[in-house]
Amino acid sequence: MDEVQTDAQALRILIADDSESDRLILSTMVRRQGHDVMTAADGIEAVEGFRRFQPQIVLLDVMMPRMDGMDAARHIKALAGESLVPVIFLTSLSDADALARCLEAGGDDFLSKPYNRIIIEAKINAFNRMRVMHRTLSQQRDVIRAHNQRLVNEQNIAKRVFDNVAHTGCLDAPNIRYHASPMSVFNGDILYACPRPSGGMNILIGDFTGHGLPAAIGAMPVAEIFYGMTSKGFLSGDILREINQKLWRIMPKDMFCCAAFIELDFHLGNLSIWNGGLPCGFLLRRGATVERLTSAHLPLGVVAAERFSVDVARYKVEEGDTVLFATDGVPEAMNAEGEMFGETRLEAAVAGTPDDQSVLDAVLRAVARFTGAEEYSDDLTLLTVDVVPPADVEELPLRVTQSALSGPATWSCEYEVTGETLAQFNPLPLLLHICMEVPGLRRRGGEVYTVLAELYTNALEHGVLGLPSVWKNSPEGFGQYYAERERRLRTVGDHAVLFRLEHKTGRKGGELRVVCRDSGVGFNYTEQTQRTVPEAGYAGRGLALLRQLCDSLTHHGTGNEVEAVYRWTFDPDESEQHTG
């Protein structure tokens, strides 16, 4: 045992007493107990002896000539620094004030006269154990401190890597406001935003179970998938499925990610929300009415693909509407009484925000008022996204990898999606990918995607499924439209949508010709071109967009075939003016 070993160990002990006979008695007693003794006759000798002899325990008389025991104790404690050198005062003092002054001077205990060897032995052993324990604790503390320092260094390095992969994307867009701790990746919170090629944006806010590195490791693939797939034009369903599958495969069973996916299309005013396990979010209609965006799904990474649902809630939104989401750090913010902020207070703060103030600030203020804390807790992530005119967020850079190699110049291809595949598969990312092989088209990915997406949506929803676009003009009809879309997709039969893409590069630029044909009955496109309200056909906005982007747009056949010609020039400065 450690104790036995330390008790038997010979210690260096300094004894300072001006009475020679007392010194003789004490040093003999201590020496007989097996320790090395050095003696001093006054305080100055004691301090000097401490320097030379480096004793482990000091026995000090209080009253001594030249320098008294209290001053000597102060010097000795200062010299000892961090290591514990017990100082025991030798005294026949009896008044409490004097004893208290000894302790203030750094004394650890008293030994009264007449000396008793049993008590002396017991005290020396007790203080030696304390000294050893102190040294052990100090060493362990130093080890822990070093470990912690290494961990902090590693976290900082890891954070730099994470910041490159799990960067914040377009969180700096003018319509986004957020609050997140800079080290939030290590408390499990994630917050990513990425522009979509079609001009809208996707946002993912979430909260991993657990803290530290495991949570941060989970965040890496989530960010990779989110940014990669969003940039390539995938829709929320595909991205969520991929993230869920990845997390389900790589994470331990008890780790998952509560998250909300926000998909916004500013051109068409469409908002899709998927909430799996995050506290209820809110949609503020022009700062007036509040709709709840409640969790309808299991969190990401809990169940396998077969059981995972990507059904989104769809909303028609307009300029001035705001979406708010928070991780559970907000409703779980606690006040001094241990009471939680809760969703009711959150909703009240959201609903009660004055018109001229930001909802984000209002909620943060309400949380601060409630907790009474000066600073927000680390694991509190809060986000608001405003619906704005598309032009306000057009400048956001797309993160499509640029290749220095020159790509294909002249090519064509045909791609047809038929039957059930129409219900399960979105061909747009693939088609965009093919087009993005052309270097000159890469910087126009957003426009190309929009052209492809508008053509496909029209062919599928109006051509194949026969959905009337007027439904989308009212809030009730909007919901009905998408419900009906789901229903009709399930019984789509042997319908098909065909794309034919042709590209050629000339001296000054290139031309992409896209033919999109569906197996539907078509419609009377002459009326449409005369800008009357369509009975069945494009939503007005979609068509306007296509006409704006393309050099020509023509209908063929029964109206079930559309041909769009998109031209581009080499000079990047002219890209703004090339539309015909």
């Binding site: 069973k253 299991l298 809990v302």
Partner: protein, 101 residues
Amino acid sequence: MAIHTRRSEDGRTLIISIDGRFDFSSHQSFRDAYEHDDQDVSDYVIDMSETTYLDSSALGMLLLLRDYAGGDAGRVRIENCNSDVRRILSISNFEQLFSIK
């Protein structure tokens, strides 16, 4: 926080009661509660009548038990939840994974 276990009369059901906060500190004792039991157990009941709160790591522990009990085929019931506990379970839509009463 304290975790107690008992068996139904036929010995087929293991009832695990959790008192107080169910959070990460319960991790080991919760696992011990079901892992050290024998093979006769076919059903699990988590009795939350004395549970005041659960955090996300508690949800993770419930998933571990579910996995231990056989995943989709396992029979795990969560009973007697108070409204706070119920709310937390339903935000994460755990009704889809457990039978909650």
